[in-house]
């Protein structure tokens, strides 16, 4: 595989997962709104903050419109081509990367990606009500799963396959923590309460993990909750522990596996050294922040294999 293709195939995995997870985040939010008491305040700026946007600023800059804040935020997250966190922009980035590494991916996956793109072009044009939106997001997730399934069933086991899977699981770990953060921050008053009772059902539903959560609860000796589950339960494929495990497993054959594994261990340690059950809401948010910084570093390590090889090459090029 070309050195140059590393980034593209890695991002292909990240964008595909981002598409899926953004759809899940949107559904988790919808669930939460439906479950909430009508007097409770849902903070829209926070939802955008968690995705790395400046929520307050974005919302204050919105042009006057008849739409509700919910509709405007949803359009920013789904249909807005200029929004870097929208479903549509994730999909066009996905398509761009796929085009660049088309020679590495099986034909069936290429077709599946195409049909995903066509589907979004057709259906992600205008704002929809909650019910329609829910169905649409579920379909987006389902189609992302199809792409992964086709790839898993047909793609050559190669560096490209490993990098694609690393990309998916790095992104998933990142997005799972962001989705958790939405919940943590939405309930951020007061911050010093240990283990406040969050309403996790909507998140677990959106992550497809509600049944395995109950299984988890039934098989633990100690008092645990969804925070432990999402961070440490390595048998659940959307937990942080599982994602890190997969990144490590997929990195083994890469030339820079040692550097990647080192980063993964650091992140695993971060989860182990903290006494999760003792964390206040504020501390939990800090932990998530730390973790996301670690993910950024992990990404950098993955996309720069053998730096000495690269400089060596540039010398050869200029010579």
């Amino acid at each position: 595989m070309l050195l140059k293709s590393l980034d593209h195939i890695f991002w292909l995995g990240r964008y595909l997962e981002r598409l899926d997870d953004t759809a899940r985040l949107i559904n988790a939010t919808s669930h939460l709104l439906i479950d909430s008491h009508k007097d409770s305040q849902f903070s829209w700026p926070l939802l955008l903050d968690v995705l790395g946007q400046n929520g307050a600023e974005l919302l204050s800059q919105l042009p006057p419109s008849d739409l509700t804040v919910e509709q405007q935020v949803m359009s920013f997250l789904i249909t807005d081509a200029d929004s870097e966190v929208s479903i549509r922009s994730a999909c066009s980035a996905l398509k761009q990367n796929a085009r660049t590494v088309r020679q590495l991916i099986p034909r069936d996956m290429w077709e599946e990606l195409n049909s995903l793109d066509l589907f979004l072009q057709e259906h992600c044009q205008q704002l929809q009500g909650r019910q329609h939106r829910y169905r649409l997001m579920t379909e987006v997730s389902r189609r992302c799963q199809m792409v992964v399934g086709v790839l898993d069933g047909t793609m050559l086991r190669s560096d490209a396959f490993d990098l694609f899977n690393i990309g998916r699981h790095v992104e998933r770990a990142d997005m799972t923590t962001r989705i958790m953060d939405v919940m943590v921050l939405q309930q951020l008053q007061p911050t010093d309460i240990k283990r406040p009772r969050f309403r996790w059902t909507s998140i677990l539903n959106a992550l497809g993990g509600i049944e395995s959560y109950h299984y988890y609860l039934a098989h633990q000796n100690t008092e645990v909750d969804a925070v432990d589950y999402l961070l440490t339960y390595a048998d659940f494929p959307r937990s942080i522990a599982y994602c890190l495990h997969r990144v490590a497993a997929s990195a083994k054959a890469l030339p820079h596996s040692a550097a990647i594994l080192q980063r993964v261990w650091q992140l695993q340690d971060l989860l182990k050294t903290q006494n999760l059950s003792e964390l206040t809401t504020g501390q939990l948010h800090q932990l998530i922040d730390q973790f996301q910084t670690g993910i950024i570093e992990l990404h950098q390590v993955i996309s720069t294999p053998k730096p000495e090889f690269s400089t060596d090459l540039s010398q050869q090029m200029s010579a």
Partner: protein
């Protein structure tokens, strides 16, 4: 008289129709399609065209148009009606195509070595040596098997009598083969019953044949060859084809910056380090291959590549310099070239051609601009062509001046009554003109595709088949008529 089975299909008089005889009877190879339309009606045909369009869109078969400074991806246009050719006819045609490429390669090899054909006065020496496609740095180099043009896309047309003629030889970086392959994949999905019903020769061994040909060029026979496809990049109009072929052959798709030359050996920058490259299937023009060799001002290309090639450490297909035989003036001499090197008569004739550099022929051309098709010697994609009967007086005047200013640069041919085939236009079958581009490979062996890419001019009466100018395509069915 309308053809039986094709509604009120009206042939164009004087033109050979691929599916319908002059007396309105369906040609035998098209019998299965005719039966299909009889049985299901034209409404079904229209519906299949719909399905076909959706399939193309889902498969992501596209081509890139460059317009207003932007690259726009368009869905590849494919007509639902196939073009049929009996296998007995194709056998002879493909033999003629192989004969032609074999002779052209002997010609190119001669030009870069002894130049016997110039000394013997068969082809005027200045015509070759003054051509910008003759690359002097290639003199004395011997590619494997003496073959320079390993991949050739030859454009065939039929005259009014139905005889195949060669319109041009594309020896530089011919494209279109991916669409031939994808057209077939789409048609099989849309017309499974027709494929079950007739003996249509498959086309899908091309990627393997291409790989085999490229592998035969490896300077390190015995080892597993490292083959790369060199593309100008993702913004090139033929990028779809480049990535498609790389994927189908399982070779790396590289750009200039992915390759480097060290001690006259070419290396690929892979994830695991440098890997030696044996064969480069290049889809970039000669002059952009190596700035050191051809264009000192250019930053494009891989410095040192030509030297590595000249030393025999890497093979390049098509070899740099092979474009010298892809010139519409040289084209006029191909029958003599075949005769000179092979001692054979051409199995496929040229379209009659007037050379403007010859004073007598030029006089005739200038006097008959309203009747002739005039082409610049070195353009492709259908650009710069004057189609006499469809041109204005001003256009003819401009062309006359261009010819007088640079006669070497122009040839003229009679306006051909190009063959037609029934094509679905606004829900009705109408005749549309078409050509055929088969692809011929030469390495250790010679190979010719089974059929090729049929391109069709979708505009009524138009003779321009290029997809960049409103052309479409048809799947080409070579149908067994020999059992």
């Amino acid at each position: 008289m309308g053809a039986k089975s094709f509604g009120h299909y009206q042939q164009i008089s004087q033109c050979f129709d691929e599916l319908v005889q002059a007396d309105g009877q369906i040609r035998p190879p098209a019998a299965a399609i005719a039966r299909f339309i009889d049985r299901h009606g034209s409404a079904e045909l229209i519906q299949r065209q719909e399905q076909l369009n959706q399939t193309i869109s889902a498969m992501g078969v596209c081509f890139t148009l460059y317009s207003d400074g932007n690259n726009i991806d368009r869905c590849w246009p494919l007509d639902v009606m196939p073009r049929t050719i009996p296998s007995s006819e194709w056998q002879k045609t493909s033999a003629g195509l192989k004969q032609r490429l074999a002779a052209l390669n002997l010609f190119i090899d001669d030009l870069y070595h002894d130049q016997r054909i110039l000394k013997d006065g068969i082809v005027p020496a200045d015509l070759v040596l003054d051509s910008r496609n003759y690359l002097a740095p290639c003199k004395g180099i011997s590619p494997r098997y003496g073959v320079w043009a390993n991949i050739c896309g030859t454009d065939l047309v039929r005259d009014g009598s139905g005889k195949f003629l060669v319109l041009e030889d594309n020896l530089r970086v011919p494209s279109g083969v991916s669409y031939m392959l994808e057209n077939r994949t789409v048609m099989k999905r849309v017309f499974p019953e027709l494929f079950a019903d007739s003996f249509i020769y498959p086309v899908d061994d091309y990627p393997h044949q291409l790989w085999r040909m490229l592998a035969s060029l490896s300077p390190r026979p015995g080892d597993v060859p490292c083959i790369v496809l060199l593309t100008p990049g993702v913004y090139n109009s033929a990028y779809f084809e480049h990535s498609f072929l790389a994927q189908q052959m399982g070779v790396e798709l590289a750009e200039n910056t992915d390759l480097l030359v060290q001690d006259d050996i070419v290396y690929l920058k892979t994830l695991h380090g440098l890997q030696r490259v044996d064969v480069i299937y290049r889809r970039v023009d000669d002059i952009f291959i190596d700035p050191q060799a051809f264009r000192p001002d250019s930053v494009l290309g891989i410095p040192g590549l030509i030297k590595a090639w000249a030393k025999g450490n890497v093979s390049i297909a098509n070899a740099p310099g092979s474009g010298v035989a892809d010139d519409k003036v040289i084209y006029a001499y191909v029958p003599e070239i075949i005769n000179y090197y092979l001692g054979e008569q051409p199995l496929i004739d040229n379209v009659p051609t007037y050379l403007c550099l010859d004073p007598k022929q030029r006089e005739y051309v200038l006097a008959n601009l309203d009747q002739l098709v005039v082409k610049p010697a070195n353009e492709s994609g259908g650009y710069g062509i004057l189609i006499g009967p469809r041109s204005t007086k001003e256009e003819q005047q401009q062309m006359a001046e261009a010819i007088k200013a640079n006669p070497r640069n122009f040839i003229a041919q009679p306006t051909l009554a190009l063959s037609t085939a029934p094509t679905l236009c606004d829900g009705v079958l109408e005749p549309r003109h078409l050509d055929l581009r088969p692809f011929i490979l030469q390495g250790r062996d010679l190979y010719c595709t089974t059929g090729g890419l049929s391109r069709v001019a979708l505009k009524k009466g138009s003779l321009v088949v290029n997809s960049s100018q409103g052309g479409g395509s048809k799947d080409t069915w070579i149908i067994n008529d020999e059992v």
